[in-house]
């Protein structure tokens, strides 16, 4: 059988070249993305933009709503309370989550799956149910106090554990622990523990090996988890509303008041923007922390 090899351009048609240069034979997948993105743009982005506009436009451009927040000490106190609560909750959560994530890395696969399933259960449980549980446990005539006073007579008067800052912190920590643990684990589980073993074999004590080898390697996960937890805590509404006291008003509950009781939507919009800006700053730092983990992935 003969084979012939045609030399250059015997039947080439140059006029078709440019038309076909960028055509793809597969249907464009961008059309599929459109419905979701359009929906998001219309139902999510537009309302937020409208809210933004309400914060500085009320029959003319005005910044008086922002001035109200930033100039008044009682409203600034709310900002401060929100921040303080978020930072304390984040600290408590990370202190508890980090060792658990380390344990997950060291545990065998069966134990690890078991513990993760147990951690996921509260994660998928309704937030109201969790708050209710804490209220029932912590309140004056709740489980802990009745146990301590009536049943074992340890104390005379009930401890105030809820409708105050400690109550909110307990509730927030309880809510934030599962995502913190899971994110820490998912980012850090690639760390090769043999490096720690190598440090030990070179003479480092367990605590030094941990401090100088493992801890720095786990920083990317710590950074990402801390930022995520912080961002989430800033926006909490249900937990402070139910477990907090009247003087523990956060930005979220303040916003709620503007839209339900005071019906001052413009002011509410302005407060929302303040909260949003705080959150966006946090998100920016979070994505920064995340991109560092991608760069420093363990081999």
């Amino acid at each position: 059988m003969k084979m012939t090899v045609a030399e250059n351009g015997v039947l080439a048609s140059n006029k078709f070249k440019s038309k076909r240069a960028h055509r793809s034979l597969r249907p464009s997948a961008m059309w599929l993305v459109m419905p979701g993105v359009v929906f998001l743009a219309v139902a999510f982005v537009v309302p937020l933009l409208i809210l933004l506009s309400q914060s500085f436009y009320d029959e003319g451009f005005t910044f008086r709503y922002f001035a109200m927040i930033l100039a008044s000490p009682s409203y600034l106190a709310v900002v401060w309370i929100t921040l303080r609560m978020a930072v304390l909750a984040t600290a408590a959560t990370m202190l508890l989550a980090y060792p658990v994530s380390c344990y997950l890395m060291l545990a065998g696969p069966a134990m690890r799956s078991f513990i993760m399933a147990l951690i996921i259960i509260p994660f998928w449980t309704n937030i109201l149910v969790r708050c209710y549980a804490w209220m029932a446990i912590l309140q004056r005539r709740g489980l802990v106090n009745t146990f301590l006073t009536d049943q074992i007579g340890l104390i005379d008067r009930p401890i105030e554990m809820v409708y105050n800052l400690p109550g909110v912190l307990i509730g927030m920590t309880h809510y934030l622990l599962p995502p913190a643990i899971l994110i820490l684990y998912s980012i850090n589980h690639n760390i090769d523990l043999r490096i720690v073993g190598a440090a030990r074999s070179l003479g480092a004590s367990p605590s030094r090996a941990f401090r100088h080898v493992f801890l720095p390697l786990s920083m990317p996960g710590i950074r990402a988890a801390t930022m995520l937890v912080l961002i989430l805590s800033l926006g909490f509404f249900v937990i402070p509303a139910l477990l907090g006291g009247l003087k523990d008003m956060t930005l979220a509950t303040l916003i709620n008041v503007q839209f339900t009781e005071s019906v001052d939507w413009h002011f509410g919009a302005a407060i929302s923007m303040v909260l949003l800006v705080m959150t966006l700053v946090g998100i920016g730092v979070y994505y920064q922390a995340l991109s560092k983990t991608k760069g420093g992935k363990q081999p």
Binding site: G36, V129, L234
Partner: protein, 267 residues
């Protein structure tokens, strides 16, 4: 590396944390069977009165039914949009893709209260507050990122050359999706719909704004109930909700397992 000395205090600490996470939920269950309305453990007596107070009360049952309807509709809408978006994203190599992905994930990070009031304010202009349509739309916004993430993960495990092969063997792109892609990512789609259902079923912040008397959801009733009195009826409802969550987690694990096997990974 199993260093015996290091493992034990760490293990104990971890189990204490796990106990902290679980005990409150576990404590509710016996409380729901208590015969008295005092919150005390162990309960003075056992009875089903709180379950009866829930199941035979029309207000509670109406709220439950509303939640189920809304969650089902939300789940379907969210998964439909999420599947299309996830599939489209996985097949394009667009420069703006990262930005688009950030946009899609943003409802997860923006405070729920801000989304709620923004939506409330727009819906009041459109007269959607207090309607089923309104709350379904609102819930779809916040569940949409979850469905995209879950289905994108399933698609990532799916080898796109399988689709290419199906097409070369004579399948139209639509048939390739129906016969090859969909069966393989079906488990992921089911997990995504369970996520969306549960998330909508549990949602309260947006419901307090957009919900109305006709669309009162179960969480809304609990919310009102908790703020005014802590009757053990809520314990009964809570126990049922906890069990539903556990059941959903179990089902999800089964489908996760199946989808991993299909993708050829070791279980």
């Amino acid at each position: 590396m199993s260093d015996g000395r290091r493992l034990n205090p760490l293990a104990i600490f971890s189990w204490v944390v796990v106990a902290f996470l679980l005990l409150p939920l576990i404590a509710i269950i016996p409380m729901s069977f208590s015969s008295s309305s005092l919150l005390r453990l162990p309960p003075p007596g056992y009875s089903l009165r709180w379950y009866e107070a829930y199941l035979f009360n029309s207000a509670w049952m109406n709220a439950t039914l509303n939640s189920v309807i809304i969650a089902c509709a939300t789940s379907i809408l969210s998964v439909a949009l999420g599947t299309a978006t996830a599939y489209g994203l996985s097949r394009t190599k667009w420069k703006g893709k990262a930005l688009l992905q950030a946009l899609i994930l943003s409802p997860l990070l923006i405070p729920g209260i801000v989304i709620a009031v923004a939506t409330y304010s727009v819906f009041s202009m459109l007269k959607l507050n207090g309607t089923f349509t309104g709350i379904i739309l609102g819930h779809t916004i916040i569940t949409f990122p979850y469905t995209v993430v879950v289905i994108s993960a399933a698609l990532e495990r799916f080898d796109p050359r399988l689709e290419q092969m199906a097409v070369s063997l004579g399948a139209t792109p639509l048939k390739a999706f129906a016969f090859v892609t969909f069966p393989i990512i079906r488990a992921g789609i089911i997990i995504a719909s369970l996520f969306a259902f549960l998330h909508s079923f549990d949602e309260v912040v947006m419901a307090t704004f957009i919900g109305g008397p006709a669309t009162t959801t179960l969480p809304l009733r609990i919310w009102d109930g908790i703020r005014f009195e802590l009757t053990p009826v809520i314990a009964a409802v809570s126990s049922i909700l906890i069990l539903i969550s556990c059941a959903v987690i179990g089902i999800t694990e089964v489908f996760n397992h199946r989808s991993r096997i299909l993708a050829g990974e070791k279980p």
